[in-house]
Amino acid sequence: MGLLNRLDDPYEGGGIVLGKIEELLNWGRSKSDWYLHFGLACCAIEFMAMNASHFDFMRFGTIPRTSPRQADFIMVTGTVTFKMAERIKILYEQMAEPKYVISVGSCSNSGGPYWEHGYHVLKGVDRIIPVDVYIPGCPPRPEAFEEGMMKLQEKINKQAIFNKRKLLGTE
């Protein structure tokens, strides 16, 4: 039962310490997510409502950042045209790890009304960057944004930091 064993399965054989540390780190990351808002269309209008007093997105510990270097997740809200797709990709690549993506609304989920005949629309932002949470709606309600945010927090809370190898082996 050496150190390596404990790294492999933290909750067994005296690995409580690492498990607790992992929980703490995940808690920190999930409770203070700064976001880069990429508003493109009508979902961004709903996003403003969500940031305003009635729904107050900051309750979840989020702070808007304008610089991608300081952001934890990027919120793509709206129709992703090819002109903007390149910029989204650049911004996503500029973000510091760990980074997440929330795709909001039908347009950025899968092209929305343009999925059949749009010559200029990217059919889903997941074709260029890996999306963590899809929020459906056209546009979604402000509460739906918050529900998506809670989904993202759940995902972060379940992330493995020390026992990555084990998870990769099982999944």
Binding site: F82, K83, A85, E86, E116, Y119, H120, L122, K123, R127, I128
Partner: protein, 157 residues
Amino acid sequence: MLPGEIFTKLKNDFGDAIIELNESPNSDPWILVGADQLFDIFHTLRDADEFQFDYLMSLSGTDLGENLGVVYHLYSMTHRHKLVVKVEVPKGNPVVPTVERLWRTADWHEREAYDLIGVRFEGHQNLIRILLPYDWEGHPLQKDYVTPDSYHGMKIS
């Protein structure tokens, strides 16, 4: 002033450059003009005392199959009359003189018509794409436009 009167007056001045007057009951009456003397015609329409069309409401490009067309909607704030002017150019060489110097509104409208339909406005000082990326190929609102497979490695459709 009614479009019929404007048509006869213009016909006196420009002769063959004014091609036809269409007064169909289903649409606004419009005047079809030739592309050669377009700038002079519009200059007269804007500056002559009886016309005074000081406001270009809209400039739009159309694809008519064999030809490309440009539609101008004019309005006079002083005389309160309207006029629709159309011009048609062949698709192979779609060159129309610019009216950007007459109405500054036409600047972006002409860029948009160039971007999406492909009408080239001769004499426009900055005729570049306004909506699509600069390296886009083709003019997507033409009826025979074929959507490309990919753009910069991103699959379209």
